[in-house]
Structure formats: structure tokens, C-alpha cells
């Protein structure tokens, strides 16, 4: 198992990181620097026309590869039945991409995003009113599961059944607005899903890590540089379980 702490972080360049399927390097090639990334056989090179600075390698939300077609992440998991007016917390996994950012003069800019996973997309809802989602199938656990931090993160998901009926839930859809990832030796995110009926639920991404010491990752979604305001939720209007 790779240790995320060994790659996610801040790197003054020139530097070189090579492990398994990944090579990330910024090396001097007078008069500039050359950024090189190799992952799953694909190679990207860019010239950095600036004096020595820093590179950030952080986990990012998995919504831009191979190109951005959606801002929604859908996690499918085995059906969970939640009792009326109860709240349960469980852990699911989510896919992640790896982002490379360049920092200088107080500004951080995305330079590259790559992934060790092959993405899958899906449709949540009918084709006329639904949304395209980045699709991920996950198991569920009551404890923090062990994952490969280069491929998957862990989401602590609080399920709140706000209705007076037993409700089965097997999927959650999140919007990337204010999607915040945290990392230490693993990558984590917190979220909340308030279920109003079998058809309607609201999901929100939290802006706190689920354990102390995790660092906030630089994200891709707009507004990440701003301070956090009230978290915007996504209203799931097309069901929270299969067959609805």
C-alpha cells in the first residue's frame, strides 16, 4: 500500500517523485523548468517559465477526466434501510484524481490532473430532467475502511431519515460546489444526506475532516480560494434507491 503522505504535499522545485505507475517531476532545463508527468503510459510535459517556486500535489474531486462533462458525483452502495426519524453514520469510498498545482506570488493555479482509475459516468434521473454523474460503486462499513489513497478516498456519510417511514437508500449524488477533500495518509471527505422520502433527499458536503490532523486539499471547483460560506446542498429528486 502506498502512503499518501509521501506524495500529497508541497514540493519546492526542482524535484522528482517516482513510485509505481506514477512519475511527477519538475527539472531544470535552462533557462526554464520542465514539468513531466507519466501515469498509466500517458506522458505530459509543460515548460514552467518562472523562477523556482513550489508545486502542490493534492487529491482532487474526480470530475474532470477524461474531460469535464458533469459536476455531480454519484456513489452507489448496497441498500441501507434507515428507520424513521433516525440518523446513522457509515463510511463509503469515492474515486479521486490527483491534481498538480503551481504556486507563486500568492496564487495557486491548476497545472495537471491525472488518475490511476478509469472513470465511469452515469445518468441520474430521466434523460430530459436528469443529470450526468461520475459513477462509483462502493461498499459500506461502520469503521474507516482501508483504501489505496491514490485511487479512492473515504467519505463519512451521515444518513438522516427525516420521514416517518422506513426508507431504503442505495445511492447518493453530490454536487462539486464546495466539495472539500482532506488528506493525511488517506483521503477523506464528510457528507450528509437528509432523506425526506424514497424519492427526495438532500445531500451536502461538509467542510471539516472526519479526523484531526487532516489537511485541506486544493480543489478544482470554483470558489475554492474563497473562504467557506453556507454549504449548498443538492436535491436528489429522482430517488435515493434503485428501482425508484
Amino acid at each position: 500500500m502506498l502512503n499518501a503522505g509521501s506524495v500529497f504535499g508541497v514540493y519546492p522545485y526542482p524535484f522528482r517523485y517516482e513510485s509505481g505507475e506514477i512519475l511527477v517531476a519538475v527539472e531544470q532545463s535552462d533557462p526554464f523548468y520542465t514539468y513531466t508527468r507519466v501515469c498509466r503510459g500517458a506522458r505530459v510535459e509543460k515548460v514552467i517559465a518562472s523562477p523556482p517556486g513550489t508545486i502542490l500535489i493534492h487529491p482532487v474531486e474526480p470530475l474532470t477526466l477524461p474531460k469535464q462533462v458533469t459536476r455531480f458525483l454519484e456513489i452507489r452502495f448496497p441498500p441501507v434501510v434507515v428507520e424513521p426519524l433516525a440518523e446513522k453514520t457509515l463510511y463509503v469510498t469515492f474515486p479521486l484524481d490527483i491534481g498538480v498545482f503551481i504556486e507563486g506570488k500568492g496564487d495557486i493555479e491548476k497545472m495537471d490532473v491525472f488518475s490511476l482509475r478509469e472513470p465511469q459516468y452515469s445518468l441520474y434521473g430521466p434523460s430530459d430532467r436528469g443529470v450526468i454523474t461520475r459513477y462509483h460503486e462502493s461498499g459500506i462499513t461502520g469503521q474507516i475502511p482501508t483504501t489505496d489513497p491514490f485511487r479512492e478516498g473515504v467519505m463519512r456519510l451521515a444518513l438522516k431519515n427525516a420521514s416517518r417511514n422506513w426508507i431504503e437508500v442505495s445511492r447518493a449524488v453530490f454536487e462539486n460546489t464546495n466539495m472539500v477533500l482532506f488528506h493525511d495518509e488517506m483521503v477523506g471527505m464528510t457528507a450528509r444526506m437528509e432523506i425526506f422520502s424514497g424519492l427526495v433527499a438532500e445531500t451536502k458536503i461538509g467542510d471539516r475532516p472526519f479526523r484531526e490532523g487532516m489537511k485541506r486539499s486544493v480543489g478544482l471547483s470554483s470558489g475554492r480560494k474563497a473562504t467557506f460560506v453556507e454549504q449548498k446542498g443538492f436535491l436528489m429528486e429522482h430517488g435515493a434507491a434503485d428501482g425508484i
Binding site: 478509469e118 459516468y121 436528469g130
Partner: protein, 277 residues
């Protein structure tokens, strides 16, 4: 001492002047409120120039309406003005019929939004990408790069096919597998291929099944969904990849065949070269 009802200028009294002032102040306030509302609502729907025209026309329209409301207080004989205005209105109406029709259609298009900037659409016989929606016309960039201006009246009254309004679209192929080959294996190969492509949506699930036993081949129907924005690329790419995958799996495609039956018994003769001499 002058009272409010005493004529001040001609037949106009102080009361009339006050009423005119109040009406015009209210008119200006209403015009500003309405135009501000229009700016907020339409700023992301129409171009800057068109928005400026709409705002100006609305503003002065409301001002003119306010003047008409205030006219009785000017002690003006409206009957003659209305007759003259009516005649002028009819003349202008006939002269500007198509312009007004396009203008009204444009406003309805802006409000109803059957097309948006960047949409791939088909209006009548025009196929392309919407470049601009103006008050009088909509411009489309055809797939061959041609600039096409369509009057809004035609846009509004034509059948519009918008290829990207819905999130996803379905792609459908029919592939014929030779009778000598295993069509079931072909179905499995295509299923695996579809599952490996990111833009072949997981839901609705792709469908691959034997649709027809045609005279020439076992026809396999392939149905899957893709994001509307990726429709063209995915449709072209997957058709080729399916062809390659089936060939790599050792499957061949059906081709037209005809079975010929002879009414009489056929006799075959073979001769050696020496006998033939």
C-alpha cells in the same frame, strides 16, 4: 390669491401641474424598476447589445405610456391626436410588420429558451451551433463553418430539434454477424467493450441482444446512452471499436448471400489436360 383650481398656463391649473409631476415621477421610477429587473433577468440570456436595446425600448415605452396617462392634465384634445396617431400607427404597422413579428418572436425565444448559446440544433433545414440570439434574428454556425442568420419569426414557427437540451442521448447500432460464427460471443465482446468506455453510461444500462435473423446475418442490436455533449464523438468511436473488437475475437460480419437451387440434377465432369486435347 391663486387657488389650486385657477388656470395658470392656458387652462392648466396648479393641480394639473402637480398631477403631471407625480405621474411622471412615478413613471420614471417604474421604468427604472422594470429595466433593472430586465437587466438582472436577461443579462445571462441575451447579448450585451441586445440587452441595451431591450432596456432602452422598455424604458422609453413606459415613459411614453406615462406621458399618455398625463396628457389629459395638459388639457389637450386627445380625439384629434388619437385619430392622427391611429392612422400613423396603421401605416407604421404595415411597414414594420415583419420587423415587429421578428421582435416579438425574439422576445418569446428569449423567455421560452428553446435554444441557448452553444446548443447544437436543427431549425428547418439548418443544422449547426447557436452563436448568437438577437432581438430580431438568431445566428447559427453550420457544421461546415457557414454563417447563417435566421429571422426569429422563422425560428419561433419552425420545428426545433435541440440535440443537447437533454443530459443524455441514446446511440443505436445494428451489426450483422455471419451465421457461421458465434453471435453469443459477439454479444459478450460488445458488452465488455461498452463497459470499458467512460462515456458509455452505466445507467440506463447498455443493451446488446440478437434482434433479427436476417437472410444474410444474425443481426445484433446495440443500444447505449452517452452524455449529449459527447454524442458525435462516442458514436463514431464506438462503431469502429466494435468492428475492431469483433474482428479480433475472430468473428466476421454477415454479407449478402443467395442460395441458388437447380431444378435439374447437375453433373460435374472433370477431365485431365491430356483428355481435353
Amino acid at each position: 390669491m391663486t387657488s389650486f383650481s385657477d388656470p395658470l398656463i392656458g387652462e392648466i391649473t396648479i393641480y394639473d401641474l402637480a398631477a403631471i409631476a407625480v405621474i411622471m415621477v412615478i413613471t420614471v421610477i417604474v421604468a427604472k424598476l422594470v429595466t433593472n429587473h430586465i437587466k438582472k433577468r436577461l443579462s445571462d440570456k441575451v447579448g450585451k447589445d441586445e440587452l441595451a436595446i431591450i432596456v432602452r425600448v422598455t424604458y422609453y415605452g413606459i415613459i411614453i405610456l406615462g406621458i399618455f396617462i398625463a396628457l389629459p392634465y395638459f388639457r389637450v384634445n386627445l380625439s384629434g391626436l388619437l385619430v392622427a396617431g391611429g392612422v400613423v400607427g396603421i401605416i407604421i404597422g404595415f411597414a414594420c410588420q415583419s420587423v415587429v413579428s421578428n421582435l416579438i418572436s425574439g422576445l418569446f425565444i428569449i423567455v421560452e429558451r428553446p435554444v441557448k448559446l452553444g446548443d447544437n440544433i436543427n431549425i428547418g433545414d439548418v443544422f449547426g451551433t447557436v452563436e448568437e440570439i438577437r432581438v430580431l434574428s438568431t445566428t447559427v454556425s453550420a457544421t461546415d463553418g457557414t454563417y447563417i442568420r435566421i429571422p426569429n419569426e422563422k425560428v419561433f414557427t419552425s420545428n426545433i430539434i435541440n440535440y443537447v437540451t437533454h443530459a443524455a442521448r441514446r446511440i443505436e447500432y445494428t451489426i450483422g454477424i455471419d451465421y457461421a460464427d458465434d453471435a453469443g460471443r459477439g454479444v459478450a465482446v460488445i458488452h465488455d467493450l461498452l463497459a470499458s468506455h467512460p462515456f458509455v453510461l452505466k445507467n440506463p444500462k447498455p443493451q446488446v441482444f440478437v434482434k433479427e435473423l436476417s437472410p444474410d446475418a444474425v443481426n445484433i442490436s446495440i443500444l447505449f446512452w452517452t452524455p449529449s455533449s459527447e454524442y458525435g464523438d462516442v458514436r463514431n468511436e464506438m462503431l469502429w471499436r466494435i468492428k475492431v473488437a469483433l474482428e479480433e475475437a475472430g468473428l466476421s460480419f454477415g454479407s449478402p448471400r443467395r442460395m441458388v437451387r437447380f431444378g435439374n440434377e447437375l453433373r460435374m465432369e472433370s477431365r485431365s489436360p491430356a483428355e481435353g486435347r
